[in-house]
């Protein structure tokens, strides 16, 4: 009973894993070009995912461990694209020498391979292994700033809580297996008879374990500390790719098992707590972290409706990721060589100094708040609410809507600060504007960062005007 392997189907994974190896080889052979190789490989992965026809493989009977679909291809491509983007964003930091370039790129591309696996995973084991592959390199990447205040605690928090979450997820998978004997996603069913409760709790634990990954409340405690302690590019990856992995895992479970109430509870808690706490943040990355906690709530809200909501959840996740990436990219660009996000007050007047960066941040924040000109975000919000109302979860749609209002309060606070006039300094000077400019120079933005930001922003704008492209890919 050996499984047949269709290597063509596995092309995206090969590309991803190959990228990791390529980076390693480059590092060994040349000691340079690692970043370039990483970006190149990741881009190749994107194309492999998008342009290879998706099909199943690793099948026993009709149950497959590798399930190809255009949705999986899209998600895998997204992982790869995010990896490429994050690599580009780290160019500045790596040039400054905060981490060994080769290892950094290698770890990130390994994570990408995990992500690709998750996207195509057809059974719980592959899914969890893929998730771990996605996450484990990140423990190390987060810890790279361990010499700075917060860096080590970020890594330790992330690590410990992730381990706990994996344990819970594994326990859940085990319980579910006991109850139903199924591990393949397509065969998942609810427990019957006296195994009902076992199956139920197994499902719940599985959900809880995966919910850690997307930092859903009450399983979110790691996210703010970790994001804030991690280098910004890594935080970017955490809040986008890592979250996407969690969403895929959750969706896989939710699609087959009825988890409405627990998803609803999680969603309500997540968005409400996330938004409320975000209101009071003073550090940029913490704010983004809490906002992304809240966004996770919007993402999982449609999952309460089961398989009917999966498409909406993915759509939201994709739009969210685009916008979140742009937001983090701007933070990277604005902060220059500083690896942390700084306080929100550090961004005062930044939009006046740097028009394009300001505009990009406003675009992404508007989108995250679900308002034009961030059309992508608007459509994301519309999708979620439409899907919830369609499936009879009207009250949950109401909660989402209410939270959108709370969220705007902090997004707009930051966005307005970008254009706020400079604070008067204590001493009197002839031209405070000049002094301000002298103390807040326009930091040079590395070309790679600019490129990543431009591509991200362009994608956010294009998909804002043409969201149907994403829906089409997701629905097949």
């Amino acid at each position: 009973m050996t499984q047949a392997v269709n290597n063509l189907a596995l092309l995206p994974l090969y590309a991803a894993a190959g990228t990791a190896l390529l980076v390693l080889v480059c590092d060994l052979a040349f000691g340079r070009f690692q970043l370039f190789a990483g970006v190149l490989g990741a881009t190749a992965t994107v194309f492999c995912a998008l342009f290879s026809s998706p099909r199943d493989t690793f099948c026993s009977a009709d149950l497959c461990s590798w399930v190809g679909s255009s949705r999986a291809a899209l998600l895998a491509a997204l992982f790869a694209a995010l990896t490429a983007g994050v690599l580009a964003l780290s160019a500045g930091a790596l040039r400054e020498g905060y981490a060994p370039v080769g290892e950094f790129c290698f770890l990130l591309t390994c994570s990408m391979a995990g992500g690709v696996t998750v996207a195509y995973a057809g059974d719980l084991i592959t899914l969890i292994v893929g998730l771990e592959t996605l996450t484990l390199p990140l423990y190390i990447l987060v810890g790279l700033r361990r010499r700075l205040a917060g860096g080590s605690s970020a890594a330790v928090t992330f690590f410990l809580i992730s381990v706990i979450s994996t344990a819970v997820a594994l326990l859940g998978a085990a319980l579910l297996y006991i109850a139903t004997g199924a591990l393949h996603l397509s065969a998942l069913t609810a427990g019957t008879g006296r195994f009902t409760h076992l199956g139920t709790v197994g499902t719940a634990l599985l959900i809880i374990g995966f919910a850690f990954k997307i930092a859903a409340v009450p399983l979110h405690a790691w996210a703010p500390t970790t994001y804030d302690g991690a280098p910004i590019p890594v935080a970017t990856y955490l809040s986008t790719a890592s979250k996407l992995g969690g969403v895929i895992a959750l969706a896989a479970v939710v699609q087959r098992l009825d988890t409405g109430p627990i998803m609803a509870v999680l969603a309500v808690l997540t968005m409400t707590v996330g938004n409320l706490v975000a209101l009071r943040q003073t550090r940029m990355v913490r704010l983004l972290a809490w906002s992304s906690v809240a966004q996770a709530g919007y993402i999982i809200a449609p999952l309460a409706a089961g398989s009917d909501g999966v498409e909406a959840a993915f759509a939201y996740a994709i739009f969210f990721i685009l916008l979140e990436f742009v937001a983090f990219a701007v933070v990277v660009a604005l902060r220059g060589p500083a690896l942390d996000g700084g306080t929100i007050d550090d961004y005062r007047g930044a939009g006046r100094r740097n028009k394009w960066l300001g505009a990009a941040l406003v675009l992404s924040f508007a989108g995250l708040a679900g308002l034009p000109p961030g059309l992508a975000g608007l459509f994301a919000k519309i999708t979620v609410i439409a899907s919830l109302i369609d499936t009879g979860w009207g009250w949950l749609a109401g909660v989402v809507a209410l939270n959108a209002v709370i969220a705007l309060a902090y997004y707009i606070r930051v966005a307005a600060l970008l254009y706020a006039p400079i604070k008067p300094v204590g001493i009197s000077v002839v031209d405070p504007e000049l002094l301000h400019r002298a103390t807040h120079p326009r930091l040079p933005v590395p070309a790679a960062v600019t490129a990543a930001l431009a591509v991200g922003a362009a994608a956010a704008i294009i998909f804002g005007f043409a969201p149907q492209a994403i829906f089409t890919l997701l629905s097949r």
């Binding site: 410990l160 499902t203 405690a221 988890t259 627990i262 999680l266 409320l276 209101l279 009071r280």
Partner: protein
């Protein structure tokens, strides 16, 4: 054909010229001439049109088109001028022309003359619109534009601190009446599915309530009790404006509207009874208040209130013709009186009779004008007022027999009030004449100023004299109808136009004439026995009451103004402390909740791990209990 063209032009020309005049730059020399030209031209053209129409028209002219359609209700831009309305229009135009010409002299040093003249033109046009409208909405347009113009013109004088308040009062009090007017119109229209007056008049049953509501508007515009309080205060406006408001436009509009809609009013006894009570009260109230005023213009103002009582009284007893006839003569003599009063004020620099006296010798023309005007006002035969007042009293006496549209008691009430009014009017008219023109000239010594705080008037240098030609000629022109208009009742054409009964000088004139002599005589006797003393002193303790207009201002303040203000305060408080506080409170509560939650998240790692596991446990238990997979 020509009538159809001219009818819309009658109000149209002054309105248009008024609007053009408003665009003129105020102040300079050039615009002043242009403004005077526009103003006078507007009035003159309107007069010309009116005359042509009077000559041409023998049956009512009707012309109109659809203006706009609201649902199934059509508002039409339609005009209708019957012979009666034409005479009113004629009166309006004559008075307006006189006022315009007179104003050129009266406001010769006012930099804001240009808008003033334009507003007078608008005012005239609006009144003509009321007169000629055949659609209630169109009528309302004129009705309200008049209100706005009265506001602007009363508040014109910059030197009078009370002018703005008086202007606001005039506008707001009449506007309160207009609430009723609008509702009444709406009610009528909704019931009858039309705004056109001719169609409405053909409508059989109308709501009494609707007519009562319209009556409220009439009371506001025509200064009927209890909405008369604005009129005496409106004296703060320039004197020509007082002439315009009192004689031909504003106050006449109410009476005219009742006249126009009289068939509807006649259908409802209740309405007429209310109108009768209102008229009687107004008549006596105005007359009594006029007895104790020291301000020349205020005497005239209160006399207007009283005379309006005669008109509405005539309407109440079912004699619209008498009302309209009195309206016409009143227009003539009241305009005359006000313009003459303006001449006096110009000459002596004060409004107060206690500072006048002996003006007869210095201002002969004005004196004659006053004699004619006051005679007509008091109803001295054969001046105009005599005939028309007689008509009203005869109609009231006739109504006491019952059988008319109004109940008999209304007839009695109006008749008695009218008779009493005759005596009182004669009394105060005599008092005014004596105190102003007879006695010795009060020289402007130091004590001339004592007790007065109106340093706002510039005291003209030199002795008082008759006004310059531009102001004198209007007086002379207006004196003619004030004397002769009463005889128009003998013209069959005029009579048929107003549907007036032929005058019959029977026994009924004895009582009023006696009362007239009693009133005038007692006033003269008082003045004669104690020279230099105000005859009003004889009123004793009633004098301050009368002088204050029965303190109705205070009553109004107490019953309406203060409650509204208190309500406004309460609502604002509600708005700020409850509605807005709820909104702000939501914000702050949310933020506070955020602070609490953020504080809860500052736990160290081990505790966070425990909390997270606790959360997992909780959700697991929850799942088991709820039965997720149920």
């Amino acid at each position: 054909m020509i009538a159809e063209v001219l009818t819309p032009l009658l109000p149209g020309v002054p309105l248009l010229l008024g609007l053009v005049g408003l665009i003129l730059r105020p102040g300079d020399r050039g615009p002043r001439r242009a403004a005077a030209f526009l103003g006078i031209a507007g009035a003159a053209l309107a007069l010309l049109i009116a005359i042509v129409l009077v000559v041409v028209v023998d049956a009512p002219v009707q012309v109109g088109m659809e203006w706009v359609r609201f649902g199934d209700l059509t508002v039409s831009l339609s005009f209708s001028l019957g012979p009666a309305a034409l005479y009113v229009a004629l009166a309006v135009c004559v008075v307006a022309l006189c006022v315009q010409i007179y104003s050129v002299g009266y406001l010769h040093d006012d930099p804001r003359y240009a808008p003033y003249a334009a507003q007078v033109a608008l005012f005239t046009g609006a009144m003509l619109l009321v007169v000629s409208a055949n659609d209630l909405v169109l009528l309302l347009v004129g009705w309200e534009v008049m209100g706005a113009c009265s506001y602007l013109l009363i508040g014109h004088d910059r030197r009078l601190p009370e002018a703005p308040a008086a202007a606001v009062k005039a506008f707001v009090v009449t506007r309160v009446g207009d609430v009723g007017f609008l509702l009444g119109i709406a009610w009528l229209a909704v019931d009858a599915h039309t705004f056109r007056i001719d169609e409405l008049l053909a409508e059989p049953g109308v709501h009494t309530a609707a007519m009562l509501l319209i009556l409220a508007g009439v009371a506001g515009k025509s200064a009927q009790f209890p909405l008369h309080t604005w009129l005496p205060d409106a004296m703060a406006g320039p004197t020509p404006i007082s002439a315009l408001i009192h004689a031909a436009t504003m106050v006449a509009a109410g009476v005219f509207v009742v006249f126009r809609l009289f068939p509807l009013f006649a259908a409802s006894q209740v309405t007429l009874a209310v109108l009768g009570v209102m008229a009687s009260v107004t008549l006596l109230l105005g007359a009594l208040a006029a007895t104790a005023q020291d301000d020349l213009k205020r005497v005239l103002a209160w006399s207007t209130v009283s005379q309006l009582g005669y008109m509405t009284g005539a309407l109440a007893v079912g004699s619209p013709a008498a009302a309209l006839f009195h309206l016409l003569t009143h227009a003539a003599f009241k305009a005359l009186l006000f313009l003459a009063a303006g001449a006096i004020i110009h000459a002596v620099g004060t409004n107060f009779m206690s500072r006048m006296g002996g003006l007869r010798t210095h201002m002969p023309v004005t004196f004659v004008a006053f004699v004619v005007g006051l005679g007509a006002l008091a109803g001295v035969p054969p001046l105009a007022g005599f005939w028309t007042k007689e008509n009203v009293l005869v109609a009231a006496a006739h109504a006491t027999e019952g059988g008319g549209p109004a109940p008999a008691w209304v007839g009695w009430m109006v008749w008695i009030a009218g008779l009493l009014g005759v005596a009182i009017t004669a009394w105060y008219a005599t008092r005014l004449l004596l105190r102003t023109f007879f006695g010795h000239v009060r020289s402007r010594t130091e004590e001339w100023f004592v007790g007065f705080d109106d340093a706002r008037y510039e005291v003209p240098p030199g002795p008082a004299h008759d006004p310059p030609g531009v102001m004198r000629w209007p007086l002379i022109v207006l004196a003619v109808p004030a004397v002769l208009l009463g005889f128009a009742a003998f013209l069959p054409g005029f009579r048929s136009a107003l549907e007036l009964e032929s005058p019959h000088l029977g026994v009924s004139i004895v009582a009023p004439l006696l009362l007239l002599i009693v009133g005038a005589g007692s006033s003269w006797w008082l003045w004669h026995t104690a020279p230099g003393v105000d005859p009003a002193q004889a009123l004793g303790r009633l004098r301050p009451l009368f002088a204050a207009g029965f303190h109705l201002d205070q009553v109004q303040d107490l019953l309406v103004v203060r409650p509204v203000r208190a309500l406004a305060d309460a609502v604002r408080l509600l708005d700020e402390k409850v509605v807005d506080a709820a909104v702000e409170g939501t914000g702050t509560t949310t933020t506070r909740l955020g602070t609490v939650l953020a504080g809860a998240h500052r736990a160290a790692l081990p505790r966070a791990a425990v909390a997270v596991l606790g959360g997992a446990l909780l959700l697991g238990v929850l799942a088991a209990i709820v039965g997720v997979a149920g």
